[in-house]
Symmetry: C2
Subunit: 82 residues, 2 copies
């Protein structure tokens, strides 16, 4: 069994109002030394598969078909055996 940990972020060119709100809130709490904040999604998916390569291929496909919106989002992931 494998676990895919997937980070989905908005593309740099896409406005992130949620991130801007968190940034403002952090600054209001006194954290003046912070810069840009971006908020995205994080997914953990358990996958049955025979090897790392097969699982990675499937994760890419799942990201493109369902888990992300490739027009406005980027994703990265890592696959580990569990």
């Amino acid at each position: 069994m494998w676990k895919a940990k997937i980070q989905v972020t908005l593309k740099k060119s896409v406005l992130d109002p949620q991130g801007a709100t968190v940034e403002k809130a952090l600054k209001a709490l006194g954290y003046d030394n912070i810069g840009d904040v971006r908020v995205g999604k994080y997914l953990e998916v358990v996958v049955e598969g025979k090897d790392n390569e097969e699982v990675e291929e499937q994760v890419v496909e799942m990201c493109q078909r369902l888990l992300t919106n490739p027009v406005i989002e980027d994703y990265t992931f890592e696959v580990t055996e569990v």
Copy 2:
């Protein structure tokens, strides 16, 4: 400058209806070999600081004060120089 990449997940004991919905949707698309799916948040925060240790301490504090709900959520993060 440092970038903190923070993964926030619901604790294992907390029901995750969004994850369950994604799991059902993946299975409906034909991915029968997947198991549990959990959905969380992902944050990237740019922080000014003099060293890794100082920044890590501050990220822990920000997570506990604002970014996560420690009653129902866990978090992990890594800090890298950018």
